[in-house]
């Protein structure tokens, strides 16, 4: 096993203490909790109140093994705990990895391929079942049996191959060794993985009781392991969250015990209706984005009840490099020059910041790119030089989100002005990414956005732009970007041990990749980083709001 190093060092960037490869193991890992740095939890706790009513966006599932939407994950942060969690804190601190169900940060061997966690003692699920070390492996196995969208995150675990080949027949993963008596979980990796702790913080690995069937659960959802559990869920309609009766106050310092006793949620996809519920006092919090057309009106009337946050998200146009005309770099550069990023922000009601980077600005790997100044004439020249003028281009966008629709129509207008025969195909949001992610659609160019799963560049470059991960269906690399030297570079950076993951040198290499994709290859056309809104009723105390990496933490909400 070699000298163990503390994975806390890997707390990457966000902890600004990466690179601590040499420190001794136990002591630092024992600094456990990482709670000291959170601070914010202490200041918001102990302000309990009976009922919090919320208006919430639609969810996909209420099963941690299946859900891959922010709406669910925002709730899960206080319901389903993982071995390590993202800190419940405002701003960049909210992306810091701290112990969750594990009593401390794991010890990692020098090669970065062996992680050892020790489970906290005395924890129970909301149904009273004790949480055991072996539940972790069973949860990952269940993910495979469910064909969960998260199984790709575990492909680096030793012995996972049979499960990957036949997910539904998966029974065990030899690379996960559990000891219930000692409460230890050892995870062996095929090769180092720089973002592994972030992967471990995803809800796909949140343990659920071993008796949980390997079928989608929702009515009711699986028992919770955090301070709350989801008592009731009616898809597309409502949910009720209650306190976990087996949660011991202060059991995990990094997790808030929670202020509301009960959370009653109304699920609404209509942004206007959702906002109206809060405006009329029927709800205390609006999880949905405020409708852009009424933003000014709401700001004028309820300004003190609205908060805006920049999010780790990038909105960009993909350009399919397997198809004409965007298999020509000059055509791709032309798009980058021809789009006016300020206009695109305007189309989103002002809820965004223009960007040319693929990575969001709150990353330490971010180095601002200021290369493409809006220049339509230059763009036209590039199209002329590319010899693609007059070709037919179909723009893809989402039809049921008015701002996305307008952005798509804007791009169509831009392409027409560049001399292309541009048409547009608008698809419902529910099917959009499935359709454009299917190679048979042959989507040439279109709107897309990405909100991080976890705050590390692998979640951007390796998922969205690595040619080795292009698939026939469910493809996330919509533009089929496949640049061999950059693929290799991404693989190398992804395989760094955690201790090197956030060193200055590594950060520079990621920043150079950003530059290589956007400037040198014009692989994508990023245009804005999204801004989200949080709208509270007049009875809520805004100072208790904590907007962490999973967005507003309802457990910390408090009344005036």
């Amino acid at each position: 096993m070699g000298a163990a190093v503390v994975a806390a060092g890997l707390a990457l960037v966000v902890t600004a203490c990466g690179g601590g490869s040499s420190s001794s193991s136990a002591s630092a890992s024992g600094s456990s909790s990482g709670s000291g740095s959170s601070g914010s939890i202490a200041s918001t706790q102990g302000k309990t109140f009976p009922t919090l009513k919320v208006a919430w966006g639609d969810t996909d599932y209420m099963d941690p093994g299946l859900s891959y939407r922010l709406e669910s994950w925002q709730l899960f942060q206080d319901v389903y705990l993982t071995l390590v969690i993202k800190q419940h804190a405002n701003g960049p601190a909210g992306a810091k990895i701290v112990p969750g169900l594990a009593q401390s940060m794991p010890t990692v061997n020098k090669a970065g391929t062996d992680y050892k966690f020790t489970l906290r003692k005395g924890l129970k699920y909301s149904n009273g079942t004790p949480i055991k070390a072996s539940d972790f492996e069973k949860t990952i196995v269940r993910d495979f049996k469910l064909n969960s969208p998260g199984i790709g995150f575990y492909s680096n675990i030793v012995g996972v191959d049979p499960c990957e080949k036949s997910p539904t027949k998966c029974t065990s993963i030899p690379g996960i060794v559990s000891n219930d008596a000692a409460g230890t979980i050892e995870i062996k990796l095929k090769q180092p993985e720089s973002d592994f702790l972030y992967v471990m913080s995803l809800f796909f690995s949140a343990p659920v009781p071993p008796t949980t069937p390997a079928t989608p659960q929702g009515s009711p959802p699986p028992p919770g392991s955090g301070p709350y559990y989801i008592a009731n869920y009616s898809p597309h309609k409502s949910f009720t969250i209650k306190r976990n009766p087996h949660w011991q106050k202060g059991a995990i310092a990094t997790v808030p015990d929670g202020n509301p006793d009960t959370v009653q949620g109304t699920i609404l996809d209509d942004l206007a209706q959702s906002a109206q519920m809060v405006a009329s006092g029927q709800a205390d919090y609006d999880e949905n984005l405020l409708p852009s057309d009424r933003l000014a009106q709401y700001q004028k009337k309820y300004g003190s009840q609205i908060k805006y946050f920049t999010t780790p998200s990038t909105y960009y146009f993909f350009m399919n490099q397997r198809l004409a005309p965007f298999n020509n770099i000059k055509a791709r550069q032309a798009v980058n020059y021809a789009i006016d990023r300020n206009q695109l922000v305007k189309l989103r009601g002002g809820l965004g910041k223009p960007t040319q980077n693929f990575l969001p600005p709150n990353y330490p790997q971010f180095k601002a790119i200021n290369y493409y100044k809006y220049d339509l004439n230059k763009a036209k020249q590039l199209v002329q030089q590319s010899g693609t003028k007059g070709q037919a281009v179909t723009v893809y966008t989402i039809s049921d989100v008015s701002t996305d629709k307008a952005i798509g129509e804007y791009l169509q207008g831009v392409l027409k002005s560049l001399g292309y025969k541009a048409s547009i195909r608008e698809l419902a949001g529910g099917n959009y990414f499935t359709i454009v992610g299917n190679q048979s659609t042959k989507a040439q160019i279109g709107f897309t956005d990405w909100y991080e799963d976890y705050p590390y560049p692998t979640d951007w470059f390796n998922v969205l732009l690595n040619g080795e991960k292009i698939t026939q269906i469910h493809n996330n690399n919509y533009g089929n970007v496949d640049i061999k030297p950059l693929n290799k570079q991404m693989d190398q950076l992804a395989a760094l041990p955690g201790s090197e993951a956030s060193s200055t040198g590594t950060n520079s290499k990621w920043a150079a990749l950003d530059q290589a994709f956007v400037v040198k290859n014009a692989s994508v056309a990023p245009f804005l980083n999204g801004v989200l809104t949080s709208f509270f009723s007049s009875r809520m105390n805004m100072s208790c709001d904590v907007f962490d990496d999973n967005q507003d933490d309802f457990a910390q909400f408090c009344l005036k």
Partner: protein, 365 residues
């Protein structure tokens, strides 16, 4: 709608008309068409709505003139960063905003993206009905949208009527297996709700267009919604016409034509078809209103006219999200649809009363 239940529309025969006018001699030698025209001329309500419909058509046909001489922009010209001068004051076509970073990930936002409202004629003809969120001139888009909607409505009504006539003649005249096949085909279409079938076909065809049988139609072509709407309405005209052909086929004059050795085609075209003319005219007028409404519904749902091409349905859909702050965006094309369909329905009823007076009971529902 009981708009025509007045006394003059109860006249069933030339004799009754003559009696009302005070003598049989006055109508001697007049054809049923002349009599129908005479009845229609006396239905001022129907004529007024016909005039309204024609006015709408003319306005829509003049869209290019409005675009080049009044608004100065095309239907798809965006102007997000543009400004206009209204009463000496410079106004943003689409409002500007801004973001200030406050720290901790929090920012201060000045909302942007709200389009300018109706300027009537204070801005020299620009943005008379306001703009949409891309800064496009709504009045221009409504006129061009009307052109598209009317074109699709009229063309699809014409195609569906033509196809229905052919099917009805074949089914009604030949009967037997031919009739069975054609009526089952009608049943098949009829089994689906119009909108559902329209969405299914419209969506499927708008994705990749139609590239078969030597035809090469792109997904954004207006021929896609036209063809879809034409198809879904075939049984709605075909069935009543087939019934009439079945009845006509048993008439003595058809037997006489057969006895004289007339071919089937000649009998259908020269003997039966002229006797269907008044029904066809009435049905066509009424189906146009339906096809225009269907076009609007399909376009509203994204299965009709494809953006950025405007149609009244797409314009309503575009404005739906901003209905509170920019209601004119949806209301204006909505009013246009209401007026068009209302005028066609009232005129259609009037035409039916004129051409087919015995149908008076059916319209009084």
């Amino acid at each position: 709608m009981a708009t025509t239940g007045t006394e003059e529309f109860t006249l069933d025969t030339a004799a009754e008309l003559a009696a009302e006018e005070g003598g049989g001699a006055a109508i001697q030698g007049r054809s049923p068409w002349v009599l129908a025209a005479r009845r229609l001329r006396r239905n001022y309500v129907a004529l007024a709505f016909l005039a309204l419909f024609l006015l709408i058509v003319v306005c829509c046909l003049l869209a290019p003139v409005y675009s080049s001489h009044i608004s100065g922009v095309g239907p798809n010209d965006t102007n997000i960063n543009g400004t206009i001068v209204v009463n000496g004051q410079k106004l943003d076509v689409v409002s500007n905003g801004g973001i200030t970073t406050l720290g901790n990930g929090q920012v201060k936002v000045v909302p942007a993206g709200v389009p300018i409202g109706p300027q009537w004629f204070n801005a020299g003809g620009k943005y008379v009905l306001g703009a949409d969120n891309l800064g496009r001139d709504l009045a221009t888009r409504i006129l061009y949208g009307g052109e598209n909607s009317l074109q699709i409505g009229l063309a699809s009504a014409a195609i569906t009527t033509l196809l229905s006539i052919v099917f009805a003649l074949l089914a009604g005249y030949y009967g037997g297996v031919v009739d069975w096949i054609i009526t089952r085909f009608f049943d098949l279409i009829w089994a689906f709700p119009v909108i559902l079938l329209g969405i299914a076909l419209g969506t499927a065809l708008s994705i990749n267009g139609f590239h078969h049988f030597g035809l090469d139609v792109s997904g954004s072509s207006l021929w896609i919604p036209t063809a879809v709407i034409s198809y879904v309405y075939i049984p709605y005209i075909g069935r009543p016409l087939r019934g009439q052909v079945l009845a006509l086929r048993e008439k003595e004059f058809i037997e006489a034509a057969v006895a004289q050795g007339a071919s089937s085609a000649r009998i259908m075209v020269s003997e039966i078809l002229p006797n269907l003319a008044s029904s066809i005219l009435v049905l066509f007028t009424l189906i146009v209103a339906n096809t225009i409404l269907t076009e609007a519904a399909l376009s509203f749902l994204g299965a009709g006219v494809q953006p950025p091409n405007p149609s009244w349905g797409t314009l309503i859909s575009d404005g739906e999200s901003d209905i509170v702050t920019a209601p004119w965006w949806s209301i204006a094309p909505g009013v246009a649809i209401v007026l068009t369909v209302l005028s066609l329905n009232v005129f259609g009823d009037g035409l039916r009363d004129a051409l087919d007076p015995r149908a008076k009971v059916r319209i009084e529902h």
